[in-house]
Amino acid sequence: MVNNINPGKKRSRYSAFQLFSKGLTQEDWPEIWSEPDMKDSYEVVIIGGGLHGLATAYYLAKNHGITDIAVIDKNYIGAGGSGRNTSILRSNYLTPEGVKFYDRSLKLYEQLSSELNFNLMFSQMGHMSLAHDDGGMRTMQWRAQVNQVQGVDSKVISPDEIKELVPYIDISKNTRYPVLGALYHPPGGTIRHDAVVWGYARAAHEMGVHIIQHTEVTGIDVENGRVTRVRTDKGNIATGTAVNCTAGWASLISDMAGVKMPVTTSPLQAAVTEPVKPFLGTVVVSGTLHVYVSQTDRGELVFGASVDPFTSYSMRGTLEFVEGLATNVLSLMPSLSKMRLLRQWAGLCDMTPDYSPIMGETEVEGFYVDVGWGTYGFKAGPVAGEAMAETIATGKRPEIIQGFGLDRFSSGQLVGEKGAAAVGH
């Protein structure tokens, strides 16, 4: 059992001084995390090395002192939704449960760069959801009220105020979907998604967590209603605790433990343009037009939409998506007609009936789920990791995720977030 770099070794801190001195000496930076050999037993096996798996491992180690953990991914870390999302962070949700939960995540994100000693490029540029009809305005008013009661900075603004924030938007009355107003959420914004994944991986690795890439989980053994073993294509691991953090693949992993899920998998696509000078200082979302747009620090425009019209495990981009996207973007910002798209891509989303996640224990002892992240789970990474770590360490779901249990589907207490999560992500 040799570790080429032993986990637990103190990482070198990133700082302006380091950057300067490495620039002078041309010395290599140390590897961010090592590739330890997989052991044949772990206290906790986390399946899925996306943001959620890595954050859960990080908070288990940091807050609860549990470090005998393997995070296993069949691909490289961040190969799933965590490396494919459009990285919009916000907390202006619709239900009290949702607002409280996502706001805790935003607060954790605000101090995460310094906590992880990793520049996550979190830019709180503001987030705007447009309304184009009376129903839309009503939902925005509703959300603003729920948000304000919970202390979240969120309000409805008029077309003139929208125009002031985003001069390129078409607010004229003679469009097919005239802009009537918007829900404006100043603390919302975007972050560098890969950096979040790498930052958590580096910090978890430093505390002794094993990050095992390119290893596929192929089975979960359950004896007398308890998890006993996780099987992989590189050998078996004895463990009493397995955590499903596989998002779009969540049903397949839960099936291995014999746990059925209220989840369907749909592709979600996004696209990015060539870079241009900065002109868009806010994230703009239109639920009616099924489109949203933001500008990156490099100047590219990132476009997203709602999920594909039918379920699938295919991650291929489609022409229909680009056609629809272009039409909708141009009705919002006609001046973008000469922009060129550089790339498009797709990721898998684990959709739930109420657009809220499924977190916590299951009927199989030692088998936990942190899934149902749909199109909105990136912003939830920190709070989900924190809450799942507490659930696993103490055996009890903390207050902040009480409403998100798998049991809510038979008790009928769904947490309906569709009005705030279907397009805005």
Partner: protein, 84 residues
């Protein structure tokens, strides 16, 4: 684009159709438990591979039919007019 064979109209682009998905048997209204209702309403197999599901030709003849489809290869395999 994926093309789907409507049993009544023939081969058409997938954009003409609406997926209604897995069709689990409806529980007995008088005696079903909460768990049986939850299972019927919310829980899905979400299969990787070939599934049999209900589709609706929404921009065509507006009839329902059953479709065998590969959810990974994204390919429609075979359609059946009988929706039961």
């Amino acid at each position: 684009m994926m093309q789907i064979n409507c049993p009544w109209c023939g081969l058409r682009n997938a954009t003409e159709f609406k997926q209604h998905g897995e069709k689990p048997p409806r529980p007995d209204v008088a005696n079903a438990t909460r768990e049986q209702w939850a299972d019927y309403l919310y829980f899905r197999n979400n299969t990787w591979g070939v599934v049999k599901e209900q589709w609706f030709h929404s921009s065509g003849c507006r009839q329902f039919f059953m479709l065998h489809r590969d959810t990974f290869a994204n390919k429609a395999i075979r359609s059946e007019g009988d929706v039961r």
